[in-house]
Symmetry: C2
């Protein structure tokens, strides 16, 4: 960040009054530009004992498999975001179950929230997806799973085996 | 938003390639400035059957009571954020339990996440707090509770009565 998005002035790192952290502050108009973690929302869609995964057509992790997930948008709930991402990436409608995983991806400044889900009807590869497919629970392609957060969600999904055991918290180690 | 924080050029609302939503896009350097919901993290601290609330010394809702909560920062986990906010607002250390509430506050572009917690040791009013006090569960000052998300968390906390029933999802109606 170099310029103020409000007035175009130059910003500098400074600790504002009544704060304890450095923020980007405009040297002209004084606006404080807070930066906070972003939310990624996704789900683990199941149908007839098999799980829907998407092979990524884009980077990062192009060619690897992932559960449907992406950045939450303004104007939607976390559940609506998870369903929308599934629609966009896998052309699939889901009935969401419960929120069961929250992963802190500190280095990326992200929190990843995952729901259980039932896949309703069909699916297909969305624009950012090379392929979409159902995998039996003992045939998840673990070495080809795209992200540590999705891998954690898949593992906990299988461990929970349909039960709501609350939210499993996880922190992705730095550099992974 | 009027100016690009990267180059200082003017931004305009436009749907970028491979996107379906209008974003702020720089007319000079092409940078897309995504805007996403922010996370508020908090907890319901209990000690000897009583719940710790903070009377707000600042707006919004100055003079009303709230559970400790505030914006999650970069560099911390959701749990660390909830504990930090409790330290800042109530000068109190807590042992966090489980994540049990997620509230979508669409109009504010926020998601509020709440943990159960045990209050360890003492407490006092922090800088943004006028007063901090323990309330018996049948003496929560409901009409003076500051925010609908905190009110929902308190209600679900009492209903759960110590059990982990997973995450209670809630959407705050527009305009409240």
């Amino acid at each position: 960040m170099k310029y103020c998005s409000k007035c175009g002035g130059k910003v500098a790192r400074r600790v504002p009054d009544h704060d304890s952290r450095q923020r980007w502050v405009c040297e002209d108009c004084g606006t404080i530009h807070y930066q906070n973690p972003k939310i990624v929302v996704g789900c683990v869609p199941e149908k007839d004992g098999r799980i829907l995964l998407c092979k990524r057509a884009i980077n990062p992790r192009r060619g690897y498999w992932t559960v449907p997930a992406g950045f939450m948008e303004l104007g939607e709930t976390v559940a609506e975001g998870a369903a929308r991402e599934t629609r966009e990436e896998a052309c699939a409608e889901v009935e969401l179950g419960h929120l069961f995983v929250s992963v802190d991806v500190i280095e990326a400044g992200q929190v990843h929230l995952f729901f259980t889900a039932k896949l309703l009807g069909g699916f297909a590869a969305g624009e950012e997806t090379e392929d979409a497919a159902l995998f039996a629970k003992d045939e998840i392609p673990w070495p080809e799973v795209a992200f540590l957060s999705g891998e954690f969600a898949l593992k906990k999904y299988l461990e929970d085996d349909g039960r709501n055991n609350g939210v499993h918290l996880h922190r992705v180690p730095h550099g992974e």
